[in-house]
Amino acid sequence: MMQPMNSAKEKLRLLADSARERVRELKESPLPVIYVGCATCGRAAGALATIAGFEKALQENGLEAQIRQVGCLGHCYAEPLVIIQNPGFPPLLYQKIGAGEAGILVRSFLKDGSDPCYEYLIGALEADENFPTLMDYPRYLYENRVVMEHCGLIDPEEIDSYLAVGGYAALAQGLEKGGAWVLEEVKAANLRGRGGAGFPAGKKWEIAREVEKTPKLLICNGDEGDPGAYMDRTLLESNPHQVLEGLALAALAVGAERGLLYIRAEYPLAVTIMERAIVAAEEKNLLGADILGSGFSLEVSVFQGSGAFVCGEETALIQSLAGNRGMPQPRPPYPAVEGLNGLPTVINNVKTLSTVPSIIRRGWQWFRAIGTEDSPGTAIFSVVGEVEYPGLVEVPMGVTLEHLVLDVCGGIKDGKEFKAVQIGGPSGGCLPAALADTVIDFDSLKKVGAMMGSGGLVVMNEDTCMVEVARYFTDFTQGESCGKCTFCRIGTRHLRELLHSITLGEGSLDDLADLEELSQAIIKGSLCSLGKTAPNPVLTTLRFFRDEYLAHIEEKRCPAKMCRTLIAFYIDLEACARGCDACVACCPTDAIFTTSNRKKAIDQLKCVKCGECVYVCPPEYDAVRRVSPPEMIPDQGVEPLTEKEESQA
């Protein structure tokens, strides 16, 4: 007999209890459990081969174990990541486990039970006297995981594993107290949109809530197009139900009956996982009609974007949903008032929605205590480039860039110098190391000409040319310009042409003035935010790295030795070893020849300056030199080995 139930909370409690029971069974399983990080990045690093390796080794050794695919912990430098829960041991996290290492782990740790393979170990997930714990590492110590709390630890394909950690409790609470209460909580929390601009989510919801027209639509914007940012993908792939719970709470606050997940087509795994998560949530009555008997209904579906960066812009996104070209529309009207098919449409970023459940569960006061007064909460960055520990990092707002790069991410790789960070992607800016004490929050970054953007952060050392970086981003935005308004369509193209000619050493000082004039005009005159922010990489590099522009223009020299027209490679005959052929074998254009004294030299006419010979030259010789400008190659009196000599040799 079914117990009569009267509240959403009670219904959820029953669901959560049975979920906890199932998860406990797994946790207390007498069999070892192997969790393998299988988000896109883990798979790229070979996680599926790792799983095959485990399966094979288990079979060969006649052992049984459960293998579970989990999402991403954000520690991309250590992929493939594996957590092994072996009875009698705390759960242990291992790094860089390929098929071979999987075999070793099975034989040494699971079979013999004696050797937990310290050589691959990062640490224990729980405090333990025999093992270092994750908290002993700066990367874990300094992070404050709110949104990413469960990423990589729970099974994204298993709704029970989310329910068991308190998932959907916030939704049940929201359903009991009503949409108006949810709205007030989020407003009081001052949750600002994590998509880049930082517009208060509560305010947006309130605008849409007050519009009378129905049905209203809530869209989760997962069209993460910023090259260099992938936290939205990680959240969708690693904790899909958190996104859905946030979406449902937002819909409740707004009074929306339909929810839509707009996901980039380039993220096929995220699409599959979200589609399955929706079905699972509907089966448990956590989505769909009359959720948990509350009378509130929400139909959720997935829509795949088709690869246009501009569709991250709200009005363009709506156009693409309507089956149109994704061209931004002038505002007003704002989408929250008049969006898809003229109906109120609220669009929130994946990170924004993923933050909502914890705010509801723990209260706005808790949220306000994290971060700064005007930017409460945490920020997720994908820190990539020349740092020791690249990956996804969640830190409280208000920490400095320096702390993020040097402390949390382990500093610059290979003992090189910290030169700059590019923050906020194509709409953001390049900040020099001298400004590394800049505080990370929405407003401070804007002040120095950068932007929070979607949270991409590329760390650069002295080998990165800032003119080339500006050219790269401008090339990207001009290629992604929808072509509607004059300033963005043609203006960004001129920016690109100017920057391109500077990287070729063909620039003039007039070009710098033109870059500035054009940039200012594009900011003022463009129709949408893509255009209005496109010149940021140009303006910040001009401001902070003007000397590099001048070196390219006046000396035809690329100080970072990156711009290929302005550099050349040669082999230092003093350092080159007789008989070593490493560079010859790797050269894609056969540009390296043997000299009369059986060393190597580069035919400058054939060389495409790919730099591969620098990497393959054995470190004990380290004979390949890179110079800029190309005329810097010293005359070493190189003579090629004659054919006759060659045949004798």
Binding site: G483, T486, F487, R489, I490, R493, G525, L527
Partner: protein, 229 residues
């Protein structure tokens, strides 16, 4: 649009206009010229894409497109500040930097809006400072039975797409590609000419401000007159 009349100030001149009307046509009716390419009288939802009609409005944080800004009581508008002038000049220079600039052999010579705007903004029709950007399109697309389209002259204002879309039956024109590669596509013109109503319509050619879209018949006789064909 309501019948309420409001008073606004444009460059120190007081103007009365119906509340809620778009600012650009109000100014034009009162002999205050503001350059524009993409706007057409009667549009409900102007695209605001050419960015030539930018003006300054007291209280707004930046320049706004006057073509879709609605007038209200007490509005204070500046159409000729130095900054606005600079922005318009630059927008104009950008537009002509992608054009082939062959006025003498163009069907729209002397009736071209770009020529008119050039005169107003004191700008040459070929920019010196900005380099010319050659768009990767043929100079002439003439596979349509009744229209010729010269992509290198097109300023992508979208008037032709708009008027074609307004027609009940027609609607054969649309934008294609993206960014600098954007083009007006005559896709569908490979169909049977009899199924097209274009022959008697030609509204698109009528609204083209620069002579990029023309009636095939007129264009042929123009070329014959030039003695070029």
């Amino acid at each position: 649009m309501s019948d309420n009349l409001v008073t606004i100030t444009v460059d120190e001149q007081k103007i009365t206009a119906p509340a809620g009307a778009f600012l650009l046509p109000v100014c034009l009716e009162n002999d205050i010229y503001i350059p524009h390419l993409c706007f057409l009288e009667g549009m409900d939802d102007p695209p605001a894409s050419c960015r030539l009609c930018l003006v300054e409005i007291a209280g707004e944080s930046g320049p706004v497109a006057s073509c879709r800004y609605r007038v209200r009581e007490g509005l204070e508008v500046k159409t000729n500040s130095d900054e606005i002038l600079r922005l318009r000049q630059l927008a104009f220079r950008l537009l002509v930097s992608t054009n082939d600039g062959s006025c003498r052999t163009c069907i729209a010579n002397h009736s071209c809006d770009l020529q008119k705007i050039a005169k107003y903004l004191h700008q040459p029709l070929k920019t010196k400072r900005l380099r010319h950007i050659d768009r990767d399109y043929p100079a002439l697309i003439d596979n349509h039975p009744f229209l010729v389209y010269e992509p290198k002259k097109c300023v992508l204002c979208g008037r032709c797409v708009y008027v074609c879309g307004q027609l009940e039956k027609g609607y054969k024109l649309d934008f294609a590609q993206r960014g600098m590669d954007s083009i007006v596509s005559l896709f569908g013109s490979e169909l049977d000419p009899a199924s097209l109503e274009c022959e008697t319509c030609l509204a698109c050619a009528g609204v083209c401000p620069v002579g990029a879209m023309s009636s095939k018949k007129k264009w042929r006789s123009f070329i014959a007159e030039l003695g070029l064909n």
